[in-house]
Subunit: 155 residues, 2 copies
DNA sequence: CGATTTAGTTATTTCATATAACAAAGTTGG
DNA sequence: CCAACTTTGTTATATGAAATAACTAAATCG
């Protein structure tokens, strides 16, 4: 019964689910010492890279719904890693900016995640890693296009 | 703000999460006409391919916890797609076997999922698809090994 | 100005996954 | 053989991710 799922292994979705479960466990273990989860880490990185962006822009960037982002931003703010600054010209919006401790924690966590990435992709040569990145991007794009009823480009 | 997440896109875990979300939406839409979800489909395929296996073996094959499998098997059984047959030599265990309608539905759903797979991987050449499959398998294996404290093979 | 849209929020729901604890059956070692 | 332990399937429960509806305040549009 070693390969009972051989039929399913033809499908990238099945393989991605399995691989992602393994990755997520390691990501969470890696981020735990920093008090971060996958979402809070992702949000922090984007805020550090794009200081001053709004919550809507952040949600759009990460492809998560605005309501689900609120608690994430709350968490980062309450830990003093970012600030919610009212936009001076649009008083509905916040501009999210990292604090100095936020930038520092982000850099440390990024280094740890770089190590994590190296562990997980050990034994995969550079060409295959590039193919992986390109293929995942393409699959995401194809999936979105199908879902939105768009034409799927052929190359 | 088109590429606000460029730093994160270095990481296969982030790309996998995004790609998988897109894939899952399309998988569920594809399976909906058959009354199947991703888990019930996966379970049905493995049962068809391995008639007579136990619930524990099925759970192990799909890497899901035994308690979470119970409702999945209940669902397939109540729809008449599989049977739970008591093992004659181990009265604790069930042997899961597909019914004729179960096999038929499985074949139809598999064909639909083949189409889905073709849609999602459109524009990815054969070499890159092979690299994707190999890389995902390797990442899952590396992740498991790290999690279990094993040595990570280098090639 | 009134109608519509946008930003952020709240509350709620659904779903997937994980854990603990159990009964019944099987296995093992003294 | 029998007590201790393990395994199978189950129940109940907790957790966390993700989606939706509805609301407010503010901005924009006609």
């Amino acid at each position: 019964m070693t390969k009972a799922d051989r039929t399913l292994r033809r499908f990238s979705g099945y393989l991605m689910k399995r691989a992602f479960n393994a990755v997520q466990a390691d990501v969470n273990a890696t981020l735990h010492p920093f008090g971060l989860r996958m979402v809070t880490f992702s949000a922090l990185v984007v805020i550090v890279d794009n200081a001053g962006l709004s919550q809507s822009q952040l949600a759009e960037s990460l492809s998560i719904e605005r309501p689900n982002l609120v608690l994430v931003v709350d968490e980062l703010e309450s830990r003093g890693l970012i600030l919610r600054q009212r936009d001076k010209t649009d008083r509905r919006a916040y501009r999210l900016v990292p604090t100095a401790p936020g930038r520092k924690l982000c850099a440390s966590a990024l280094a740890a995640i770089d190590d994590h990435e190296a562990r997980l992709t050990a034994g995969i040569d550079a060409g295959d890693r590039a193919a992986l990145v390109a293929a995942l991007g393409r699959i995401e794009s194809n999936g979105r296009n199908v879902h939105e009823g768009r034409h799927v480009a052929r190359s």
